[in-house]
């Protein structure tokens, strides 16, 4: 099984209508419910908020990856949404987001390790600026999948600056 197997066009929406974080979570959760990934929207969203309380999921670069383990999850997957509005979201660079990857993970301790490895692989891909730049430009779900699945993301056309300058005092190499 590969990354392609957990990506499902039924739970990808490049035209989310949501204008707030709460609307984004509900809209994507609605898609997950329709496609049979969760059995209850409200309890799933509630569990997502539990994770949101623990720390920031706006990764910078206009990407958010809300995720949470929920007992309402019946199938592990990842809902992907893009909004035309910028959504206020707690983020590492302080900027709003418009591309949301909602990780749908079972609370069952015995969750499928294979699936979790694929989610990890996908998360890693989102750490690449060149890939994110391309994701912002795709026009179809098929293009989005192509960018996500590409082995090599290439080089970003526009260099993304650090959200914050590294504090040099954090390093001292006096061995």
């Amino acid at each position: 099984m590969g990354l392609r197997d957990i990506l499902n066009e039924e739970i990808i929406d490049l035209n989310l209508k949501a204008t707030t974080k709460d609307e984004v979570l509900h809209e994507l959760a609605g898609h997950l419910k329709t496609a049979g990934y969760i059995n209850d929207v409200e309890s799933f969203v509630k569990d997502i908020y539990v994770r949101e309380e623990e720390g920031i999921t706006g990764m910078g670069n206009h990407i958010a990856i809300p995720h949470g383990k929920s007992t309402s999850v019946t199938k592990i997957g990842i809902a992907i949404g893009r909004t035309s509005h910028e959504i206020e979201w707690e983020s590492y660079d302080g900027l709003p987001v418009n591309l949301i990857f909602l990780f749908c993970v079972s609370a069952d301790g015995d969750f499928a390790k294979n699936h979790m490895m694929l989610l990890a692989e996908l998360a890693g891909k989102l750490g690449n600026d060149a890939r994110v730049e391309k994701l912002q430009k795709v026009e179809t779900k098929a293009e989005l999948l192509e960018v996500l699945l590409a082995e090599d993301a290439g080089v970003a056309e526009n260099e993304v600056a650090d959200a914050e300058e590294f504090d040099e005092s954090l390093i001292s190499f006096d061995l």
């Binding site: 979790m116 692989e121 890693g124 690449n128």
Partner: protein, 106 residues
């Protein structure tokens, strides 16, 4: 000067940040002309595990974590940069630039 950088990432939930930060550090290092290998410690255990040879050959170790990481004893005698996940998330490029600068001064 091309450096050999190794590192470990580990976030609280072990689902996403661990892997995103690993990629951010590796990309920043490679774009600056260095070799880089990051071991991830998440819910699925250790992946891309550092070998004794990786560690023996490395110039510097970056440990970006919010929870305790395993196997720190492997880095005895090596310069270690110990930072929170959030710092690596926000500042991957200047992190690498600062390491270059400080190692050159040593």
């Amino acid at each position: 000067m091309s450096l050999k950088i190794v590192g470990i990432t580990a976030c609280t939930a072990g689902i996403a940040h661990t892997y995103i930060v690993a990629e951010k550090i590796a990309t920043a290092a490679q774009e600056a002309g260095h070799q880089c290998k990051i071991e991830t410690q998440g819910t699925i255990g250790r992946q891309n595990e550092l070998t004794a040879q990786d560690i023996a050959e490395c110039d510097v170790v970056i440990v970006a974590h919010d929870i305790k990481v395993g196997g720190m004893e492997r880095f005895a005698g090596k310069p270690v940069v110990d930072i929170p996940i959030s710092t690596a998330m926000k500042s991957p490029k200047s992190l690498i630039a600062t390491i270059e600068k400080k190692l050159n001064k040593k």
